[in-house]
Amino acid sequence: MDPGIYREQIIDLYEHPLNYGELEHPDFSYEEDNPLCGDVIRIDVCLDEDNRVAEVAWRGDGCAISQAAASLLTEEIKGLTLGELKAFKNERLLELVGVPLSMARVKCALLSLKVLKAGAYGIPSPENMRSHD
């Protein structure tokens, strides 16, 4: 049977995510949810002296697509500069996910990239704002 978007790789990553966890002293960290489906993703990044991604970790809760995409994205960005993170294209992540997605599911796939970019641009995350109250 045609597995549709649920190819082996997606389910593998859903069951065994890559770079899952958190960093103790991240250079930046951001968290956001997609209130429509309740997906939530947090990404922590440590940069080296050249402003390249030295370490990255993510954690979250959501559908197989958003979770697999977060694994693929965090794997891909290791060694990239802050500038390259900011320029990371949506199309590139969708290519990495590699399965045809409907409009609604594209949002799931891109949640991790949205979180990463917000962090890279230094936008205070909604949760951080709350914790500073």
Binding site: G4, I5, D39, G62, C63, I65
Partner: protein, 409 residues
């Protein structure tokens, strides 16, 4: 005799293949129902033969359109046993009904420190308009809790409903849990402390016979598109003596009796609350839907849904890892919400979609309820006049496939 296969013939969309060779199995009527051909035809006929503005022209078509519009109001009033059609305001949907009451009644009658009682199982439409009002007035919103079985904590009603409560607004049937609330008891309890009672009937009127006189509620709102009618129209019922002293909601044409450079005099009920050219074709379509439901008989519709719902709840409960939300095995609205261990509801819906099965996944516009249940999202299959047990069997087969895809076998 309730003949589902004959009823299915009345719904053109049920012949659609959502993917080549994959027929539609529509289990999302609680979000929006499909339309029988008589509804589509009635709106088509209206636009082809009677279309004009209402309450304005002296010409033939305007007269026909006005009759069609006001006859629709009368028919829908009859459907819910409202004695006075002028107590029915045509609005865009149930959501607009709540906003109208919050604005026109609430802004005049809710003061600083007053309490508005809702329940934990409300749809956002019956939360946000009151939050907007409360923010403006400094009023307090309280939520009657739900019990672990998905019913309201009725034994705590007297703790939440006090002389400080000015309005108790609650859903008759939960769009997530399927809980059918004791509406009469809740209305009587509100009245006993001098509060008004407003009923969210969006999941009630399409499914269960309603007698508004027996309910004795002060306001009640429902949407046309959930009861086989078109989108863009809903009904707000309000008791005449309340509507009469309420200021208008939107201003414009049709809602005025007289306008001068100095001011305006509002029109009589119900037009006082229907500013601008109204939803004429939609009213005609909704009247056709009501005719259709009357033809089936609401008792028969309700009995059919109970049969399908019980069958679904029983079948679904046998799937490993599946947890049903809402009152177990009890009298239950025409839907089944659930979670499946190890699979996000969106993934469930996506895999089911490939089998042509349309369900809802997410929070169903009830985020606070999901928070209370401790889950981010749920999946919901909902049923209506055309749902068959064979469709439920296919749902179950497809859910087993979901488990296979996610290697939960």
């Amino acid at each position: 005799m309730y003949d589902v296969s004959r009823i299915r013939d009345d719904f053109p969309i049920l012949e659609v293949e959502v993917y080549p060779g994959v027929p539609l199995i529509y289990l999302d009527s609680a979000a929006s129902s499909q339309k029988p051909v008589v509804v589509i035809q009635a709106m088509d006929d209206y636009y082809r033969q009677n279309n004009a503005n209402v309450h304005r022209g002296v010409h033939r078509l305007s007269d026909l359109a006005t009759h069609a519009y006001e006859n629709a109001r009368q028919k829908i009033a009859g459907f819910i046993h409202a004695p006075d059609p002028a107590e029915l305001i045509f609005v865009g949907n149930a959501t607009e009904g709540f906003n109208l009451v919050a604005y026109a009644w609430g802004r005049r009658h809710i003061q600083h420190g007053d309490e508005i009682l809702l329940t934990e199982m409300e749809h956002h439409a019956n939360i946000v308009p009151w939050q907007m009002l409360a923010e403006e007035k400094g009023a307090i919103i309280r939520f009657l809790p739900i019990l672990p079985d998905g019913t309201l904590a009725l034994d705590r009603l007297s703790e939440y409903l006090t002389e400080r409560t000015k309005l108790f607004s609650f859903t008759a049937v939960s769009n997530v849990l399927g809980t059918i609330n004791p509406v009469n008891q809740l209305i009587a309890a509100a009245h006993a402390v001098g509060a008004l009672a407003m009923v969210d009937a969006a999941q009630l009127v399409p499914h269960i016979p309603v007698d508004i006189q027996a309910l004795d509620c002060d306001f009640l709102a429902f949407s046309g598109h959930k009861m086989l009618g078109p989108t863009g129209i809903g009904v707000l019922y309000g008791k005449r003596h309340l509507l009469e002293v309420m200021p208008p909601f939107l201003g414009g044409g049709d809602m005025i009796r007289r306008v001068t450079f100095e001011g305006f005099t509002p029109n009589d009920l119900p037009w006082k609350f229907e500013a601008g050219t109204p939803k004429i074709a939609e009213a005609v379509g909704l009247a056709a839907a009501v005719d259709y439901l009357d033809g089936l008989g609401m008792d028969a519709v309700h009995a059919h849904e109970q049969l399908i719902t019980n069958y679904a709840l029983e079948s679904l409960s046998e799937i490993p890892g599946l947890s049903l939300l809402g009152p177990p095995g009890a009298y239950h609205g025409g839907l089944a919400s659930f979670t499946l261990d190890g699979v996000h509801p969106h993934d469930i819906a996506e895999i089911l979609d490939k089998d042509g099965i349309a369900i809802r996944a997410g929070h169903h516009c009830a985020m606070p309820l999901h928070q209370r249940l401790g889950i981010n999202a749920s999946a919901r299959a909902s049923f209506y006049v055309h749902t068959t047990t064979e469709e439920i069997d296919k749902l179950v087969t497809s859910l087993h496939r979901v488990r296979d895809v996610f290697r939960l076998g």
